[in-house]
């Protein structure tokens, strides 16, 4: 059975009465339904089906303050409440497991090690919105996650948690495991729905929003894996308990994927509002910078979020603090890099990625990312001409806010932040025809 060797803080979570998502992820038996049930699994689902009305479920999640963990941070309960009550059409729930934002590797751990928690969360959300067929869209590369989810779904049917007339309530619910074809854009919810319909993964113009017209033009809710895995805990412990975790506006706990130049990369579940510095330097988390080098910068929420310099990292990891500090919480992917890293080299990597992943639907993103890649490659190679840096800035300005979906913004926000924070380093490439810092990372 495939099991990623990724580090988690499950031991710490098990001792805490607040953290909950990672409690059993180091128990290899947790993937089996018997163990999951023994650990209190499907209790929330049963409670919801037998004791609660859908509107009560929505209210509970609304009151908990749970927000989307995929990147946008939209309140989950509020999203659910947008499904029209009087629509005669079927409703659908899609769990977004197209985890592809560079730096992010948390949903994979949940699917791999606690697949039933994902199913339970999906089931509760389905009941809340009146859905009888739920989908999980898993990125194609995660073939092992899809296998794990298939197996778990089969067990859930056998144990009567899915299927017809669940727990004698009269409620029917089916689950479909769907795998993608390797396209970052399909993590954007409308592109995901197109892809699920068998189309090219291109985003749709909104409105209509998926909650009104989503999959097959029916009301559809798309939620991230981690968001849904949090839902059973909200039901089990109550909205007030969940609200007591984290900060006033960012309640609950969240998984942060720590990667790059740290001594202990891994996935760490912490309460929202956790200090970023502690995550990077504390011995129980990142353990400090690789080779005890000097920190140069941090990308706090996945590759689409604005960068932070060392003097900006005295900041707490919650939605509001990061916006105030000039960035975003995003998907919670904290990427750390040290002094030996050329800033234009990082941007070259990322811009290649966004150019490759642009779906091609709208001109500013399709053409703009290609122009950016060409220019930035030239600058990084030392072939940049006077005015190139200004040109990069101008193209970014013509993409930002002018595209159908957030991919365009995602491509330029990191660039713009580095132009502000490390302008001298960009200019150095033009003036001297070489990088200010030689970047050469040896694989050992």
């Amino acid at each position: 059975m495939f099991y990623s060797p990724v580090r988690t803080n499950a031991a710490e979570v098990a001792k805490s009465d607040k953290l909950h998502l990672f409690r059993y992820v180091e128990d290899p038996e947790q993937v089996k339904i018997e163990k999951f049930e023994e650990h209190g699994g499907y209790v929330a689902w049963k409670k919801v089906l037998t004791e609660m009305e859908p509107v009560q479920v929505i209210d509970e999640v609304k009151n908990s303050g749970l927000r989307g963990r995929g990147g946008a941070g939209f309140p989950a309960g509020l999203k659910w409440s947008f499904v029209p009550k009087d629509s005669p059409k079927p409703r659908y729930l899609c769990c977004n497991a197209d985890e592809s934002e560079p730096g992010t590797c948390k949903d994979r751990v949940l699917m791999e090690r606690d697949p039933h928690a994902v199913i339970e969360g999906m089931a509760i959300a389905s009941y809340a919105i009146g859905c009888h067929q739920m989908f999980i869209y898993i990125r194609g590369e995660f073939a092992h996650c899809a296998d794990r989810m298939e197996k778990a779904a089969k067990e859930a049917y056998e144990h009567g948690h899915l299927g017809k007339n669940i727990y004698g309530s009269g409620f029917n619910l089916d689950m479909v495991i769907h795998t993608g074809g390797g396209a970052y854009i399909c993590g954007e919810e409308t592109a995901l729905l197109n892809s699920l319909e068998g189309e090219r993964g291109m985003s749709r113009i909104r409105p209509p929003f998926p909650a009104v017209e989503g999959l097959y033009a029916c009301p559809t809710i798309v939620n991230n894996v981690e968001t849904l895995a949090s839902v059973p805990h909200v039901i089990n412990h109550g909205a007030d308990w969940y609200k007591s975790l984290g900060t006033e506006k960012s309640s609950g706990s969240k998984i942060f994927s720590l990667s790059g130049h740290v001594k202990r990369p891994g996935n760490y579940e912490v309460e929202l509002g956790f200090p970023l510095k502690k995550l990077i330097y504390d011995e129980d988390y990142g353990g400090g910078i690789l080779g005890d080098k000097k920190l140069k910068g941090v990308i706090p929420g996945g590759s689409s979020t604005p960068f932070l310099t060392p003097d900006m990292i005295d900041i707490n990891l919650d939605y509001e603090s990061l916006v105030e500090g000039g960035s975003m919480l995003g998907s919670g992917a904290v990427i750390v890099f040290h002094e030996d890293t050329c800033i234009v080299w990082i941007i070259k990597r990322l811009t290649h990625f966004y150019r490759h992943e642009s779906c091609g639907k709208c001109t500013p993103c399709r053409e703009g990312t290609a122009w950016l890649e060409k220019l930035i490659n030239r600058i990084e190679d030392g072939q940049g001409k006077p005015g190139d840096v200004e040109k990069v800035e101008e193209i970014c300005g013509n993409i930002l806010g002018h595209t159908v979906c957030p991919l365009g913004d995602a491509a330029v926000m990191p660039i713009l932040s580095t132009l502000k924070l490390w302008r001298d380093e960009w200019q150095y490439h033009i003036d001297y025809g070489k990088c200010m810092v030689k970047t050469d990372f040896e694989f050992k």
């Binding site: 990623s4 990667s259 790059g260 990372f441």
Partner: protein
């Protein structure tokens, strides 16, 4: 016919799960790709007959997604992530090492048709970088020693 009876049955099974047959395009392509190692016009036609969706609709989807190779590759497709988290931990040097070791360049296949080497975008394994995926399997926290071992194991298995 390229698709085996088993693949056809798998596609039929998938088809039944969806409210609309077009949704079965990606699952069908996945089944076909896993069996054949590539997809092409001939395979689109075969899928078209099974799920009753036009060939052009299948081609339209297939050409958008990078996962489905459009021509045969080596027995083992080595996909090395070169995105940011892996790059910070030496992905370039890993790619160089693999090129040297296999004596091929990125995009090429070894003469014995055993290995094809490609670079890919983020594989979602950033906290265990550097990482590569060979066919369906992930290989994480790579070191030279580990890469040597993996290649040797695959060679002896073949």
């Amino acid at each position: 016919m390229i698709l085996t009876k088993e693949s056809v049955n798998k596609i039929r099974e998938k088809l039944q799960q969806y409210p609309k047959p077009k949704s079965a395009i990606l699952p069908a392509l996945t089944v076909a790709y896993r069996q054949a190692g590539y997809v092409d016009e001939g395979i689109y036609k075969e899928i078209s007959k099974i799920i009753n969706v036009t060939t052009v609709e299948i081609a339209e989807a297939a050409t958008f997604y990078t996962l489905f190779a459009k021509e045969p590759r080596g027995k083992y497709l080595i996909q090395v992530c070169h995105n940011i988290s892996c790059a910070l931990l030496g992905a370039d040097s890993l790619i160089g090492y693999l090129q040297e070791k296999l004596n091929i360049k990125i995009g090429e296949t070894t003469e014995d048709k055993m290995f094809t080497l490609v670079t890919v975008e983020c594989l979602g394994s950033c906290s265990t970088a550097p990482v590569m995926q060979i066919n369906q399997d992930y290989y994480e926290r790579l070191t030279k020693e580990k890469v040597d071992q993996v290649l040797e194991d695959l060679r002896s298995k073949a």
